[in-house]
């Protein structure tokens, strides 16, 4: 494999991992964000602190913790393995790492959006006979769409950029777990690898800028619709 081909392979894998991570994390993050924004319960602040933890811990540590929790020898990892879900040394492990690392960002964006929704609108929907789930789907969800989008973009960007936890948890297996950041890092560890690294940094930047531009355009559309323009 030429190093060029390896870079494209890494890009493909990074996109794949980032998309999966975003798709899987959005509903979960939304749920946690909703709980944090709208429910009151004992330990709520602790839950919030827990969600923030991956921000604070060095990614290596998160990687080690994942390894201890989901590795081949860990009970949880074995259990998942027995039902056909392999995480160790598999791209799905990279997805898990990306989800966890991006989770604080996604939850916070969505939570802020939910907190900004006037509960009186939800009350109005209730008086019109809408059951809870419909209130969420037809009132809350569309109103927080910009926040979800913001969270999704942050999660996606983080997933594209995640390196430390991923390599510690699932190592660096070309085509499986060698994401773009791993490849960039590797290139930088070799004297004279800068050019290759720069090329891959460009790739990552283009993807990220593209994702942000798309999300900004979508958000603008939503805002314009509400303003009636």
């Amino acid at each position: 494999m030429t190093s060029d081909a390896a870079a494209w392979e890494a890009l493909r894998l990074s996109l794949w991992v980032a998309c999966w991570a975003t798709v899987l994390a959005v509903p979960l993050a939304l749920w946690i964000a909703w709980i944090l924004a709208r429910r009151d319960f004992w330990g709520k602040s602790l839950l919030s602190a827990l969600v923030h933890l991956p921000l604070v811990l060095p990614p290596v540590v998160t990687g080690y913790l994942l390894l201890m929790g989901f590795g081949r020898n860990a009970p949880l990892g074995r259990a998942l393995d027995s039902i056909g879900i392999t995480l160790a040394f598999h791209w799905s492990g990279a997805v898990l790492a990306a989800i966890i690392m991006g989770f604080p960002l996604m939850v916070r964006a969505m939570r802020l959006a939910i907190e900004a929704v006037d509960p009186k609108l939800e009350e109005a929907a209730a008086t019109l006979g809408a059951p809870r789930i419909a209130i969420f789907g037809r009132v809350t969800l569309p109103l927080i769409a910009p926040g979800i989008l913001a969270g999704a973009v942050m999660g996606f960007a983080k997933a594209m950029g995640e390196f430390g936890a991923t390599i510690t948890f699932v190592a660096n297996i070309p085509g499986q777990t060698q994401t773009l950041p791993s490849a960039i890092w590797a290139a930088l560890q070799i004297p004279g690898g800068e050019n290759q690294a720069i090329a891959m940094v460009m790739m990552a930047s283009v993807v990220a800028i593209g994702a942000v531009l798309i999300s900004e355009a979508l958000a603008r559309r939503v805002a314009a619709r509400i303003a009636g323009a």
């Binding site: 081949r72 160790a88 190592a171 004279g192």
Partner: protein, 221 residues
């Protein structure tokens, strides 16, 4: 006056002990060899630099970095194949692929991590490379490869002898012959006159003893 030493992270245990014995104040900053080399090139306030691989030292010299004297190796190391502490001994190296079964072989990144490069050379020399190259778990540093074996995430790994010594959860299954890979040397260079003194201390016999105690091989001047 304080001596600042930028050193490869795998030397940490030994260097800390040497620094303690050193009469002056010593500040140790650990990182990956590539990172450290670039930092030195960017003007890091280091008096001494110790790397885990000669490639980066050569690169530093090429960059025109101001070095007092010539770089010199302060320690050497050997490579070992390890398995979990209850592993059966390996009858011959060619059993390695069979022992891996469906598992993976943990090594440092084949190009980015010096230990990984040495491991690749060894495997190539012993004709196993093609058989295992798609069954590797490459890590961003050799300690992570050790951890994979220690945690049972992989059945086998190739690490420095110095790492294997200190980890009770693993067992050495095979020693790599020194001829099968480039010399595993830790080259050091003094960047300032102050550093020159410390470099002396690094190459002293006392230092050699400490290196040896941490599983390295002392370099005989």
């Amino acid at each position: 006056e304080r001596v600042t030493v930028f050193a490869a992270a795998s030397l940490r245990g030994a260097l800390e002990e040497i620094a303690q014995a050193y009469p002056g104040d010593v500040s140790l900053s650990f990182g990956g060899s590539g990172t450290i080399a670039r930092q030195i090139a960017a003007g890091a306030p280091a008096d001494v630099v110790v790397l885990a691989n000669t490639l980066w030292m050569d690169w530093l010299v090429e960059q025109g970095t101001h070095i007092i004297g010539a770089p010199q190796p302060v320690a050497a190391n050997t490579l070992v194949l390890i398995g979990p502490k209850d592993a059966e001994p390996l009858a011959e190296l060619n059993d390695l692929p069979a022992r891996l079964a469906t598992g993976r072989l943990a090594i440092g990144h084949r190009d980015a991590v010096p230990a990984g490069t040495y491991a690749r050379q060894w495997l190539e020399a012993s004709g196993l490379w093609n058989e295992v190259k798609d069954r590797l778990a490459e890590t961003d540093n050799v300690r992570a490869a050790l951890a994979f074996v220690a945690r049972g995430a992989v059945p086998l790994g190739i690490v420095y002898a110095s790492d294997a010594v200190a980890e009770p959860a693993v067992k050495v299954l095979w020693h790599a012959p020194a001829s099968d890979h480039d010399t595993i040397a830790y080259p050091a260079a003094a960047l300032t006159p102050l550093g020159k003194t410390f470099l002396h201390a690094l190459t002293s016999p006392q230092a050699g003893l400490i290196f040896a105690a941490h599983g390295f091989q002392a370099v005989i001047q």
